[in-house]
């Protein structure tokens, strides 16, 4: 059965996934909107950067984050105002890692959804004297709704599946950075296979349901492209 520490690990996992997804929706929406609308000839460069976490080993990301979040980095000083202290081995550190790690899973569906709207509905709205902000919230956002759902669910699900980055910057601290995937690793190493089975089962079911939601709601919507 799931014991108290397993429940804690699951709660941490869900909390991490939820926080990261909300941050990603806030950051990813303007970015995806810009990528979908811009005619800049070098837009493939930010597109490639956004897609990087799809192909990069999590250890590479984890390694850079470990350096960037550590006490010897310039970013450390800059982040000092957020409460100070090293961000490695903290929940906040994991959020930063997850936001980067799950970025393409949120930005790409949004960008696809915005592109699919095309220019015409927005131009029509403009002729009716809708302001740019008005057009975005009353035309683009409702029309891109499937994209938002896909982005949110995929960002959430992918963060639940995170392992390598957390392993490198998390430190396996119960109640803080021990997410479910790390707890499973720990159980297996301690030969606690019953615990590992329960937690794995929960994650398998959860991930499957989340993907069912994506595929079920969006039908032919493209989920991932590279």
């Amino acid at each position: 059965m799931l014991d108290e520490s397993d429940i804690t690990a699951l709660v941490i996992t869900l909390k991490l996934a939820l926080t990261s997804t909300l941050i990603l929706l806030v950051l990813g929406t303007p970015l995806a909107w810009w990528l979908a609308r811009t005619r800049w000839r070098f837009k493939f460069i930010p597109e490639a950067i956004v897609a990087l976490p799809l192909v990069l080993p999590p250890t590479v990301l984890g390694f850079y984050l470990l350096i960037a979040l550590g006490p010897n980095s310039p970013a450390y000083g800059a982040l000092g105002f957020l409460g100070g202290g090293s961000l490695a081995f903290t929940f906040s550190g994991l959020v930063i890692g997850s936001v980067i790690y799950s970025m393409p899973f949120v930005v790409q569906p949004l960008q696809d959804a915005f592109s699919a709207i095309g220019r015409r509905p927005l131009e029509v709205a403009a002729t009716l004297r809708a302001s740019p902000l008005d057009r975005f919230f009353t035309i683009a956002v409702p029309m891109a709704r499937p994209g938002f759902i896909t982005a949110a669910v995929l960002g959430f699900a992918h963060t639940i599946g995170e392992f390598g980055v957390v392993l490198m910057i998390g430190g396996n601290i119960p109640g803080e950075t021990r997410v479910a995937s790390i707890a499973i690793y720990d159980h297996v190493e301690g030969l606690e296979f019953t615990h590992a089975h329960w937690l794995s089962g929960v994650l398998l079911l959860l991930s499957f349901i989340l993907l069912l939601v994506v595929y079920g709601l969006n039908g032919r919507f493209r989920v991932i492209r590279l």
Partner: protein
């Protein structure tokens, strides 16, 4: 209505308390000591309201986490070198370093009558995989390497070595049967959750340096003091010995 449910869920998840009871301490513990530490923590819980949370890993990995500011209050290493280094760095409570256990290395296979009591199975080499812990990070891996070098087999067997991240993972490799045999800690054999079958060779101590395992206190507070004086008690020493270690005679602080 639906929207409100989502908000409630979101808020609930965000305000769920994370870490935090004041009297909780985290103890970074070398993997070989896992079973013993679980028993010690269990015993300590019956006599104290303080919560002790062990975190297991290889000595080398835990060491680098401590250096990088991981929030551990005590460090139970599988060697004496890392605690000494931490002491030199000024990261420990002065005078807190002591040897809490001395561990033994064993060559083990779950197969009956596979490992002989001279270890000559290593020379016959009728196996595909020999599991050892990562020598750079895990003291039991270093001990295993010392043994193979003493026997003059390190070069010859290198292609067949599989390395676990720590001695816990190494044990798993052998236990699951993916490696026919491996060097693990004696304590893992005698104190696991289920009785361990198979055959083993308790490596004689002239082939490697005995694994003196030292602990250091990183944060001085009431809980760490209480827990560490418990660890130094005869009662705790008994538990440690029951898990396959020898304990040195030491004076209570």
């Amino acid at each position: 209505m639906k929207r409100r449910a989502w908000y409630t869920l979101a808020v609930l998840a965000l305000i769920t308390p994370g870490p935090g009871v004041a009297s909780e301490i985290r103890i970074a513990t070398a993997s070989n000591f896992r079973n013993a530490m679980d028993a010690l923590v269990e015993e300590f819980r019956t006599a104290s309201e303080h919560r002790v949370v062990p975190i297991y890993g290889s000595t080398g990995k835990l060491f680098s986490q401590v250096i990088n500011g991981a929030p551990f209050e005590v460090f139970f290493a599988a060697d004496a070198r890392r605690p000494e280094l931490l002491e030199q760095e000024g990261l420990t409570v002065p005078g807190s370093r002591f040897t809490y256990a001395r561990g033994k290395l064993v060559l083990w296979s779950p197969r009956v009558a596979y490992v002989d009591d001279q270890g000559s199975v290593l020379e016959q080499g009728s196996f595909q995989h020999l599991a050892i812990a990562q020598p750079r990070l895990a003291p039991y891996g270093k001990a295993a390497r010392d043994v193979l070098e003493s026997l003059g087999l390190w070069q010859a067997l290198s292609p067949r070595l599989v390395q676990g991240e720590d001695v816990g993972q190494t044990f798993l490799f052998v236990h699951s049967g993916h490696a026919e045999l491996g060097f693990v800690a004696w304590s893992q054999l005698v104190s696991g959750p289920q009785p361990i079958a198979g055959s083993y060779w308790l490596v004689p101590e002239n082939l490697y340096r005995p694994v003196d395992q030292q602990a250091v206190t990183l944060t001085d507070n009431e809980v760490t003091r209480t827990f560490m004086s418990f660890i130094r008690s005869p009662q705790a020493a008994g538990i440690i010995r029951d898990h396959g270690y020898t304990t040195l005679a030491y004076d209570p602080p």
